[in-house]
Symmetry: C2
Subunit: 295 residues, 2 copies
């Protein structure tokens, strides 16, 4: 088996890029100074996101390599879902020790590009550097129809909060295997007109206050309405993180019919009303029982 030091950077880049898929929108792919891609016609805005995963922090030396690559891509796709945006083109930065097996890096890229392919995202370039610790950074660009993106900051007091599935215990596997909710987020955006949306990466207890703060409102969470992964506790559901479900707020006037239609179009998800946003910035309230105004 060969290491990165054995083959050198140019050979590594050739190896990693030769199986990448392309399409007509990729005007200039890997191998030049920059990538050049086609922009969509019509009133669209450009959406940009970068995210990084580091060995010992987001995965371990024992994590199967293809899952490392998959996770790096899945996390940025999840951020696109959080905006109801369409991901299109990725740049991949690998930092790795020269002693890393070439096969491990190839498997990382295979996991990454397989998931990219599923979402019709093209890897159009990247960068490699030696370093003491393996890390993988994915920068993703894509598009959203003008003024159609969904921020964290436009929710209002009185809006109802939903999550798209059970929370907690992602370390058992979900943190590697989760499916980014890109298509589902477009359906949610169309059918439910969320006032704010984000993906749950750091746990509801940390992420909900961020959404509320961005919108300048408080929040009120019904603890016994929070969907919990089987075998997990409520604290795990609140704090474990890496759920990669969507948290979104809708106007209280949302019709139950719209929610049911949307639910039917997202058979893999289950929408749970878990609380509401309130007047008064920075207030947060956890409450057990009694409140059943949802749906």
């Amino acid at each position: 088996m060969k290491t990165l030091a054995d083959i050198g950077e140019d050979a590594l880049v050739r190896l990693l890029t030769r199986t990448l898929k392309t399409d007509n929108d990729v005007l200039l792919g890997p191998g030049d100074d920059c990538a050049v891609v086609r922009m969509p016609r019509g009133a669209q805005s450009l959406v940009l996101k970068t995210d990084t995963i580091v060995e010992g922090v987001h995965f371990t030396a024992e994590t199967p390599a293809k899952w490392i690559g998959r996770k790096a891509m899945a996390r940025v796709l999840s951020d696109f879902a959080a905006m109801a945006a369409i991901p299109r083109h990725a740049l991949v930065t690998l930092i790795a020790p020269p002693t890393t097996w070439v096969k491990r890096v190839q498997a990382i890229y295979q996991g990454l590009s397989k998931l990219a392919d599923e979402f019709e995202v093209r890897v159009v370039g990247g960068e490699t550097s030696r370093g003491d610790q393996l890390s993988l950074t994915v920068s993703l660009s894509g598009f959203v129809p003008a003024r159609r993106w969904i921020t964290r900051s436009a929710a209002r007091a009185g809006d109802v909060l939903y999550v798209t599935g059970r929370l907690g215990g992602s370390i058992r596997g979900r943190h590697l295997r989760f499916q980014p909710l890109v298509k589902e987020s477009l359906i949610i955006a169309e059918k439910l007109k969320p006032t704010a949306m984000m993906d749950l990466s750091d746990g509801l207890a940390k992420d909900l206050p961020r959404l509320a703060a961005a919108s300048g409102v408080g929040w009120h969470l019904l603890l016994d309405q929070i969907p919990i992964t089987a075998g997990c506790s409520l604290p795990q559901a609140l704090h474990d993180g890496e759920d990669y479900h969507l948290l979104f707020a809708t106007a209280p006037t949302l019709k139950k019919q719209a929610l049911m239609e949307c639910q039917a179009l997202c058979p893999g998800l289950r929408f749970h009303a878990i609380g509401k946003l309130t007047e008064g910035e920075k207030s947060g309230l956890l409450e057990r029982g009694g409140w059943d105004h949802f749906g």
Copy 2:
């Protein structure tokens, strides 16, 4: 003095993003799941590039922090120059040990954003993670008029090779202090219609064969025509790397007048004809003396 571990991620991000400049094209800046920016009107293509610098590889623990940030931004700007593209929006990924001083990270970002400001590039988002070794990754997006970008791959046998300044010895300071040739590259593109262009990051001896291979041609270098930094040797000029000058090829029919006009518009640069591209893929020839067909 406080460390990153003392203040935590949310406070760090607030600190780093609060001084960032913005403009009307930034529709959604740092703080949400993704950034959203305006696309230019008209027939433009999207240009994407990422690049990373790692402590112990691209800078040392002793490198002044503001120069680390400046270098990370300058390198991707230089790649945009190599395409004759207009850089616009940056995403910044920082990996750092929790023991890193907050002041050091702030200084890194100050160096980075100061150079970004000079080029009217807006930092619209980013990511931070802990890790054992400091690294900084900048992903840059921007635009180029449709079909106006300059690749490495469209040069032809017979084209004349130029570099924009003296090579070698960049470790003495140029690798930190170089000015990315973004504006100059647009002038070169307009006046000289280069058939291929790239920036010299790994040294002429490594980069020229890449350009020639991408274009499917050989090359012929006149060793005594290569401009060498004062105090450096020819091997240093060929191999040191990190020159960040532009290497470009022009048709042999290029008028001397055009070259002189272009030279006058780029007073900080000096165009040196250093060889030509030849028939025969993968051939490379270094030659001393005798050939003065340039200009």
